[in-house]
C-alpha cells in the first residue's frame, strides 16, 4: 500500500510567519488574511482589561463550536474586571492570566499560529494579549449534540436504552460508565490528513493481549488518508481478508455491546463523528449473537441463536436447494409435492434458473428501494412488491407460486441475521449458480468452498471459525447455544489467552 509511504511530517504549513508576533494587530491581521481567510464564522472579540494597566486583548473562536456563556462568563468577564500587574510581560503575563484570571480547567499556552488555528477549529477559544507572543487556548467546546437515545439499528426488548452518539468523548464516557475500573484504557489518535478525526482505542488492560492492542495501534497509525468520516473507513483500512464479504471487524451502536466485547479481551475503536464503534477481532459466531441473548434466560437465548443459524442457512440456501431439487433431483421431493410443483410450473415461460435469478433480483431491488426511502413512501414499495409482483405475477403465470414462497422465505429469513445480510446475498447467488450446474452436489461444492474460505480466514490473528471448531463444551459455550453465565467459566481462549478465568470459584455452580 502506497499511502503510508509519504512522510508523516508533510502536513501543510502556513507559508511565511508561523510564530506569534508581540503585536496584537499583526497577529489578527495575519490570521484574517492567511489561516482564517475567507472564513466568516471566526469571531474576533476585542476587549480591554481593567485600568490602569489596560491592555488590548482579543478572543478568537469559531461561532457555534463554543459555549457563548462560558466564554463570556469565565474568560471575557474576569479578564475585563482584572487589572494586570504592570511588571509582567510576555510569558510571565500569560502564566499570570492562566493561573489567576481565567476560570477554566482546560487551558494551554501556544506560541504558533498553527496551534491556534487547530484549537479554534476544534472549538476552543484563543486569547491573545497585546505585547505577548504567547496565546492561551481555553477549552470551550460546545456544539449541538444529539442526545443519547436508543439506537435504531439494534433495538432491544430488554436491555439498556443507550446508544452511542456522534460525539467521541460522550461515547467514551458511556463505555466508562459500564466499566468502572482503571484498567479500562482509552488511547486517542488523530487520523485523517484533512479531517484529523479523533479515534479512540479502548481496551481493558490485563484481559486484552498486549500483541493485539499493539497490532491495532500499528494498523491504525499506518492509515494516511484524507478523511475518516465514519468508522467504516477505518474498518476497510485495517481489516483482514479485505476482499472477502464476511466481516472481520464488528460494529455496534451499543455501549453495553462494546463493554461486553472488550471484557472478553477484544479491542474497541471509537471514531469521532459516528455512533458506530468497531470491535476486533471479530469471529463468525458474533454475527449470530445479539446482546439481548445475554439478558434473557439462557434456554430462550439459545433457542433464538439456533433460530438465527437456521435462518442464515435458509436465506442463503433456499433458492439453490430449490433449484437443485426441482431441476436435478425430483426423486428427492415427496411425490405429492413434486406433482404440485410440476403443475404450478406448467405454464411458466421461464426456466427455473431464470425464475430464481429474476425473483431474487426483484426482491433485492425492493429491499434496496425500501431501505433508503422516507417511511411514507416505503409503504408504497411494499404494496407494489406484495400485490403487483406477488399475486399478479402468479395469476399471469409469469412466476410459479412455489417460487414466490421460496423468495419469501429467503427474504424474511435474511432479516433475522441482519449483520450478514449483504454476505448472504452473494452466497445465495453463488449457490444458485453451482446448484444449477451440478444439482445438490454443486450446492455442496459451493458450501465446501465457503467453508474452506472461512476456515482459512483470520481476524487479528484469531482464526475466524474458532469456538465453532473447538469441539469442547467450554469452547462452544457461546456459539449455537449460550450456556448460563455460571457455566461460562473461562474467557474465549483465542482472545484472552493469559487471563482466562472470568468466574470466581464460588459462583461456578448455581448461586442459591
Amino acid at each position: 500500500m502506497f499511502f503510508w509511504k509519504k512522510a508523516k511530517g508533510e502536513r501543510s504549513k502556513a507559508k511565511g510567519l508561523d510564530r506569534l508576533s508581540t503585536s496584537l494587530e499583526i497577529n489578527v491581521k495575519w490570521l484574517k488574511s492567511n489561516l482564517f481567510a475567507d472564513d466568516d464564522t471566526i469571531v474576533y472579540r476585542h476587549f480591554r482589561t481593567k485600568e490602569p494597566q489596560a491592555r488590548q486583548c482579543v478572543l478568537i473562536h469559531a461561532d457555534n463550536m463554543t459555549k457563548h456563556e462560558f466564554l463570556s462568563d469565565y474568560i471575557v468577564r474576569p479578564m475585563m474586571s482584572s487589572s494586570l500587574p504592570k511588571e509582567l510581560q510576555g510569558r510571565r503575563l500569560i502564566q499570570h492570566i492562566t493561573e489567576q484570571v481565567i476560570q477554566s480547567d482546560g487551558v494551554a499556552v501556544f506560541t504558533d499560529y498553527n496551534k491556534l488555528a487547530e484549537g479554534v477549529v476544534a472549538g476552543s477559544g484563543a486569547v491573545l494579549v497585546e505585547g505577548c507572543n504567547h496565546g492561551i487556548s481555553v477549552d470551550a467546546q460546545g456544539w449541538e449534540r444529539r442526545s443519547v437515545t436508543e439506537p435504531q439499528t439494534e433495538s432491544v426488548v430488554r436491555g439498556p436504552r443507550q446508544g452511542f452518539t456522534e460525539d467521541l468523548l460522550v461515547n467514551v464516557s458511556l463505555v466508562r460508565r459500564k466499566i468502572l475500573n482503571p484498567a479500562l484504557k482509552v488511547k486517542i489518535l488523530d487520523v485523517g490528513l484533512q479531517t484529523r478525526t479523533k479515534v479512540a482505542i479502548v481496551y481493558v488492560e490485563g484481559i486484552a493481549s498486549k500483541e493485539l492492542v499493539d497490532e491495532v495501534f500499528q494498523r491504525i497509525e499506518r492509515i494516511e488518508t484524507d478523511a475518516i468520516l465514519e468508522s467504516g473507513y477505518i474498518e476497510e483500512f485495517i481489516r483482514d481478508s479485505p476482499n472477502c464479504p464476511f466481516p472481520t471487524i464488528g460494529h455496534t451502536e451499543r455501549p453495553d455491546g462494546v463493554a461486553g466485547k472488550i471484557l472478553e479481551g477484544r479491542v474497541a475503536v471509537l471514531v469521532d463523528g459516528t455512533p458506530f464503534a468497531l470491535t476486533m477481532p471479530y469471529l463468525l459466531v458474533e454475527a449470530f449473537q445479539a446482546n439481548e441473548d445475554y439478558y434473557h434466560h439462557w434456554i430462550a437465548a439459545s433457542f433464538h441463536r439456533t433460530l438465527r443459524y437456521i435462518s442464515f442457512f435458509l436465506t442463503t440456501s433456499t433458492p439453490g436447494l430449490y433449484l437443485a431439487l426441482v431441476t436435478h433431483h425430483p426423486q428427492l421431493i415427496p411425490v405429492n409435492l413434486s406433482v404440485s410443483i410440476a403443475a404450478a410450473r406448467k405454464n411458466v415461460p421461464f426456466p427455473a434458473i431464470v425464475e430464481v435469478m429474476v425473483m431474487g433480483l426483484v426482491f433485492e431491488i425492493l429491499r434496496e428501494g425500501g431501505v433508503r426511502l422516507p417511511k411514507p413512501v416505503g409503504q408504497a414499495i411494499s404494496i407494489v412488491g406484495a400485490i403487483v409482483l406477488g399475486d399478479a405475477a402468479v395469476s399471469a403465470s409469469l412466476v410459479s407460486a412455489p417460487m414466490i414462497i421460496v423468495v419469501g422465505i429467503t427474504g424474511v429469513a435474511g432479516f433475522v441475521v441482519s449483520k450478514l445480510n449483504d454476505t448472504a446475498v452473494l452466497i445465495r447467488i453463488l449457490l444458485v449458480v453451482t446448484s444449477a450446474i451440478l444439482g445438490i452436489y454443486g450446492f455442496l461444492f459451493g458450501i465446501m468452498g465457503i467453508m474452506i474460505q472461512l476456515a482459512s480466514m483470520e481476524s487479528f490473528g484469531v482464526p475466524y471459525l474458532s469456538s465453532l471448531t473447538s469441539l469442547t463444551i467450554q469452547g462452544s459455550k457461546d456459539t449455537i447455544v449460550r450456556l448460563p453465565w455460571w457455566r461460562m467459566v473461562l474467557r474465549p481462549r483465542h482472545l484472552a489467552a493469559k487471563n482466562r478465568e472470568r468466574l470466581q470459584r464460588k459462583s461456578r455452580s448455581k448461586t442459591k
Binding site: 451440478l438 452436489y441 476456515a455 473447538s470 467450554q474 462452544s476
Partner: protein, 371 residues
C-alpha cells in the same frame, strides 16, 4: 479441570472424516455378511497396535514432517525412495477416492454429467484447500464433522423402525473365515490408510505425545461409527441385499419412510460422501506433494500441488474405470503395495527409530556432556 478447546480434537475430527471418507457407502466387510460386526471388532483389535505404532512414529519424529523424519532415519537416498513410494501411494489413493465419488454420483443421481466434470470440480476445491494447508483442513473438518454426525445419526435414528435384529442370526454359520476376510478388507480399506496421517498429526499441535490423542480417538470413533452404519444397513436390508448392491448404506437410508414426508433421505449419504471424500482427497494430495518434493529434493512442496492435483482428474478415470472395478476393490498388486506401505514399512521405521533413540539415550547417559 475444565476442558479447553484443544487442536487435538480438530485433529481427531480430521482423522475421523479421513477414515469415514469414501468408505462408508460401500458394503464394508461384505464377505462377512451378517457377521460383519465381528469383522469390525477383529479389525479394530488388529488395527489398534498398528495405529499405536503410527502414533509412536509421530512422536519420535516430533516436530518434523514424515519425509524429514525419514531423512534423519535412513539418510538421503533411501529416504527419497521411501518418500517416492508413499507419494505414489497417496496419489493413487487420492485418485481412487475421486473415482469412487464420480462413479457414485453418476450411478446414483447425475447420469448425464460427465465424470470428468465432477473430478474437475473436486480438483479445484482440493487445490484450494491443499494450498491453504493442514490447519485449514483441520478446522474445516471440525465444523463438518458436526454436520456429518448430526445428519447421519438422525438418519440412522429414523431408520431404527426398519431394523430387524433377527438379521444378525445365526452367528458364525459360515465359520470364521469370512469374518477374517472381512476384517482384512477393513484393515486395508479404510483403517490402515491412516498411515498417511503420520507426520501430519503432529503438525496440528505443538505438544508432545499428542499424536496419540489425535489418532486414537479419531480412529476409534470412526471405526465404531462405520460399524454402526454397516450393521444398521445389514439389519435393515438383510444380508443378501447388503451383499448384492453396490451402495448398501444408500439403499438402507432410502428405506426410511415416515408419514410420507420424512422420506427420500438417501441424499444425506451423498452429502457425507462428498464431504468426507473431499477431505480424504485433500489429505492424500497434501501428503503426495510433500513426499514427492522430498523425493525430488525440493525444499518446498507448494509448487508441486497444482500439477499433482490436476493429475487426479485423468488419474481418477484411470484407476476407477467403472463402478464394478472400484467395488471389486484392490487387485493383487495393489494389495501387496498396501501391505508394504501400511504395515511392513512403518514397522521397519519404528524399529530403526527406536534403536537410534535408545543409542542416543545411551550416549547421553555415558557422556553427560551430550552429543
Amino acid at each position: 479441570m475444565i476442558n479447553e478447546s484443544v487442536p487435538e480434537r480438530q485433529g481427531a475430527a480430521l482423522v475421523f472424516l479421513f477414515i469415514i471418507g469414501n468408505s462408508f457407502v460401500f458394503g464394508l466387510a461384505r464377505w462377512a455378511g451378517r457377521d460383519l460386526w465381528l469383522s469390525f471388532l477383529v479389525a479394530i483389535v488388529l488395527a489398534l497396535p498398528l495405529i499405536l505404532v503410527y502414533g509412536r512414529l509421530d512422536t519420535l519424529m516430533h516436530g518434523q514432517s514424515f519425509s524429514e523424519g525419514l531423512h534423519r532415519l535412513f539418510g538421503k537416498w533411501p529416504s527419497r525412495l521411501v518418500a517416492l513410494i508413499y507419494s505414489f501411494y497417496a496419489w493413487r489413493l487420492g485418485c481412487l477416492v475421486t473415482g469412487n465419488i464420480t462413479n457414485f454420483v453418476q450411478a446414483v443421481s447425475l447420469p448425464d454429467t460427465p465424470q470428468v466434470v465432477m473430478a474437475s470440480a473436486y480438483a479445484i476445491l482440493v487445490l484450494w484447500a491443499v494450498k491453504e494447508g493442514i490447519e485449514v483442513l483441520a478446522r474445516f473438518s471440525s465444523v463438518m464433522v458436526i454436520f456429518v454426525l448430526l445428519i447421519l445419526l438422525t438418519a440412522l435414528a429414523l431408520a431404527t423402525t426398519e431394523v430387524d435384529l433377527q438379521e444378525f442370526f445365526p452367528i458364525l454359520y459360515d465359520g470364521f473365515w469370512p469374518v477374517f476376510q472381512g476384517a482384512f478388507q477393513l484393515l486395508d480399506f479404510p483403517f490402515l490408510e491412516t498411515v498417511l496421517l503420520v507426520g501430519l498429526a503432529n503438525a496440528l499441535t505443538t505438544k508432545k505425545n499428542s499424536a496419540y490423542k489425535v489418532l486414537i480417538p479419531g480412529f476409534l470413533l470412526a471405526a465404531f461409527f462405520l460399524m454402526l452404519v454397516a450393521s444398521a444397513s445389514v439389519a435393515i436390508l438383510g444380508e443378501e441385499m447388503y451383499k448384492i448392491t453396490f451402495f448398501p448404506v444408500f439403499l438402507a437410508i432410502a428405506r426410511i419412510d415416515i408419514a410420507l414426508f420424512l422420506t427420500r433421505l438417501e441424499v444425506v449419504v451423498g452429502v457425507t460422501f462428498a464431504i468426507g471424500g473431499f477431505l480424504k482427497i485433500s489429505v492424500c494430495l497434501l501428503v503426495a506433494s510433500k513426499n514427492l518434493a522430498h523425493a525430488l529434493g525440493f525444499p518446498d512442496y507448494r509448487f508441486l500441488v497444482t500439477p499433482l492435483v490436476l493429475s487426479i482428474i485423468p488419474g481418477s478415470q484411470w484407476f476407477a474405470k467403472s463402478v464394478m472395478e472400484m467395488n471389486l476393490g484392490a487387485t493383487k498388486i495393489a494389495a501387496f503395495t498396501d501391505v508394504m506401505v501400511q504395515i511392513v514399512l512403518p514397522m521397519i521405521f519404528w524399529g530403526v527409530a527406536e534403536i537410534r533413540m535408545s543409542r542416543v539415550r545411551k550416549n547421553k547417559a555415558g557422556k553427560p556432556s551430550g552429543i
